[in-house]
């Protein structure tokens, strides 16, 4: 591998471009994890300050090579670890358990809450998300909202791609269980009939 030229720091204009385009999605990610806007804003600020300092040292990925995908993974990685720290300080529980050996929950029959308005539904989604273990919530958001693959999520969460994929499946199952509620069999039947007609 050639190592003739020392890497140069990313140009200020390029960094400004990253900042412009990435800070709002990052804020959304952190806000969804923390559930609190002010703390999320401070955390996003910290991440970009650290990113700037890394760029001044020409530390990868903030080099003139301009690997934007790597920069994006880096900032989500930095934000994720800070968010987890913040959640841990907030809670008295020291550790999240991996829970990989817990037997899968029996699949019960679910139907959506009849919610009347956007706000109530949003609150329901937020509280359902908050009921997840933080690393599961992060995994789900990184894939469903921010479009990262399980290989990229593995880098961000510092785990293996297989573990990230398992975590993603588990997170969606648990979010689904938290978001939905058990309804009358009649309602369940109606959904089944509807889905049967939709399937080719």
């Amino acid at each position: 591998m050639s190592d003739t030229l020392a890497p140069r720091p990313v140009a200020a204009a390029t960094f400004a471009d990253y900042l412009d385009r990435m800070q709002l999605p990052l804020f959304r990610f952190v806000h969804n994890l923390l559930g609190e806007a002010e703390q999320a804003r401070d955390l996003v600020q910290e991440v970009f300050v650290e990113a700037w300092r890394a760029s001044q040292r020409a530390a990868p990925p903030f080099t003139s090579a301009d690997d934007e995908a790597a920069v994006r993974r880096w900032i989500f990685h930095a934000a994720y670890h800070r968010a987890i720290s913040a959640i841990r300080r907030r809670r008295l529980i020291a550790w999240e358990s991996l829970d990989m050996l817990r037997p899968p929950e029996a699949d019960r029959y679910y139907a959506p809450h009849p919610v009347e308005d956007q706000v109530a539904e949003r609150d329901l989604m937020q509280s359902a998300l908050a009921s997840l273990v933080p690393s599961d919530a992060a995994c789900l958001l990184l894939n469903a909202v921010h479009g990262f693959t399980s290989a990229e999520i593995a880098e961000i969460l510092a785990t293996t791609p297989a573990a990230a994929k398992r975590r993603l499946s588990r997170a969606k199952q648990r979010l689904r269980n938290a978001y939905f509620a058990v309804q009358e069999p009649a309602v369940a039947t109606a959904i089944a009939a509807e889905s049967e007609e939709r399937t080719p």
């Binding site: 709002l24 550790w95 679910y110 949003r122 937020q126 399980s150 993603l168 969606k172």
Partner: protein
């Protein structure tokens, strides 16, 4: 399609629990083409699973509506950061914090506390010092497979002229953890997921020896007498011994579900190990005879263990409220020093070249040093949230891994820190060992490789 009767409420079939974890992944793009085809085939004949998929479709839409990029921010609007503000803040907060020196508290007599065993700081990497299900099976000798494979090495140059080389492992997701070096320069390591002991010879040949007990969860490994390597099997509750030729013998720990974690050689020949699930220290002779020392009530769960300059074994202790360092003499006399609150999350312990004990405070984000008299100094790391995890002594300095910071760090005995950034894709740094030639070897979880820094 006309229906004369109302459709029956769907019920799950015998295969549905197999497909259940795959259904939420259908819309994520994470299923391979064959997996998707198999799932769709099952869905064609299964109303229950179709109904599950319907709920995930509804969930997906709700996620986009309320958590997605375009979802309205119902709280105050987000005011964007300017580059000017970022650079100004960066200038204000530069500079390393100073080190601080305190005196560790000698452990006083304590009333018995309820022990809640806390896992090590590898949570983020999904590798923890945690007691899992114990499976008691009988071990036996095993013959190693013939031959080996050469691994493709890739190297990069880091700032400062150091070279980082990686030896990828052939099986995906092997989860290499503990690592140790043989006198001939071979690198030996545990593979948690594939349940093997790996050997990388100086000429680059890789051999992997299966552990007889299935799913044993091998963790730490250390060089023992006569050139054999000894390792802990956390789930199987055994101590394993592997010869340089790859023959493995296993010895069951007498205490059930003791979760043997870390292991160290105390010359001339005994190996001492921590039973983090049983609050005990074990000693095993090369013949496999185990003696166990129970720590006093409230002492905590022992994790990492080293041989101290005073010929006693020293180990990290975690209680529900404190981080401590314990000491056990060869005769079984116990004492302990309190480092600080459990929130520091001490991880990684090394006997330093200066005769002091060095450890990582993964959440405290610092490297700590304690003399055997209990005088403590703490050296904070330059960057926040680095998660230093493990530490080893080499050539007069200490080397440590920053799992969240993705850096390899070096600290001198006077506390000067130098750090080397490891590319993000090569992260999940876990175990560290130092070789006689001064190179630092480490295991990389997410890169599924053995790394070497020269």
């Amino acid at each position: 399609m006309m229906k004369s009767d109302p459709p029956a409420v769907p019920v799950p079939g015998p295969l549905c629990s197999v497909y259940a974890p795959l259904l939420p992944l259908l819309s994520t793009g994470e299923l391979a083409a064959e997996e998707t085809a198999t799932v769709r085939e099952h869905l064609f004949g299964c109303a229950w699973c179709r109904a599950q998929v319907a709920t995930y479709d509804i969930l997906d839409a709700a996620i986009q509506r309320h958590l997605g990029a375009d979802s309205p921010n119902l709280e105050a609007p987000y005011h964007p950061l300017s580059l000017e503000r970022v650079t100004r803040l960066a200038r204000q907060t530069s500079g390393m914090p100073a080190s601080r020196t305190t005196h560790a508290t000698r452990q006083a007599r304590r009333p018995p506390q309820m022990l809640r065993f806390l896992s090590g700081a590898g949570a983020l990497a999904a590798v923890l010092l945690i007691a899992v299900l114990a499976q008691l099976t009988l071990g036996s000798h095993t013959r190693p497979p013939k031959g080996g494979t050469s691994s493709l090495v890739t190297c990069t140059t880091l700032t400062g002229g150091h070279r980082l080389c990686e030896h990828p492992l052939p099986t995906p997701d092997s989860q290499p953890a503990g690592i140790a070096i043989a006198p001939d320069g071979s690198v030996w390591f545990t593979e948690q997921q594939t349940n093997r002991i790996g050997q990388l010879t100086p000429d680059g040949t890789l051999r992997e020896y299966p552990i007889p007990t299935a799913a044993s969860d091998p963790f730490a490994i250390t060089l023992g007498p006569g050139g054999d390597f000894w390792f802990t099997e956390r789930s199987a509750n055994k101590i394993g011994r592997i010869t340089p030729q790859g023959t493995i013998t296993e010895f069951t720990v007498p205490t059930v579900a003791s979760a043997p974690t870390d292991i160290v050689l105390a010359p001339p020949q005994d190996l001492w190990f921590t039973e983090s699930g049983a609050s005990q220290i074990g000693r095993i002779t090369p013949q496999g005879i185990v003696t166990e020392f129970s720590l006093p009530a409230g002492a905590g769960a022992p994790t990492d263990i080293v041989l101290g300059p005073d010929d006693a074994v020293w180990f990290l202790l975690i209680t529900s409220s404190e981080s401590k360092i314990g000491r056990l003499t060869r005769d079984g006399a116990f004492s302990a020093f309190t480092i600080g609150p459990v929130g520091l999350e001490t991880a990684g312990l090394a006997a330093g070249p200066d005769g002091a004990l060095w450890f990582a405070e993964s959440r405290g984000n610092a490297i700590g040093r304690m003399t055997i008299g209990g005088a403590m100094t703490t050296y904070p790391l330059p960057e926040a949230h680095s998660l230093p995890l493990t530490i080893a002594s080499a050539a007069g300095n200490l080397w440590f891994l920053e799992q969240a910071g993705n850096r390899i760090g070096m600290i001198t005995v006077s506390g000067a820190i130098t750090e080397y950034a490891v590319p993000l894709g090569k992260s999940g740094l876990l175990g560290i060992a130092t070789a006689a030639d001064g190179s630092v070897w480490f295991t990389q979880l997410s890169a599924n490789a053995i790394g070497q820094l020269t």
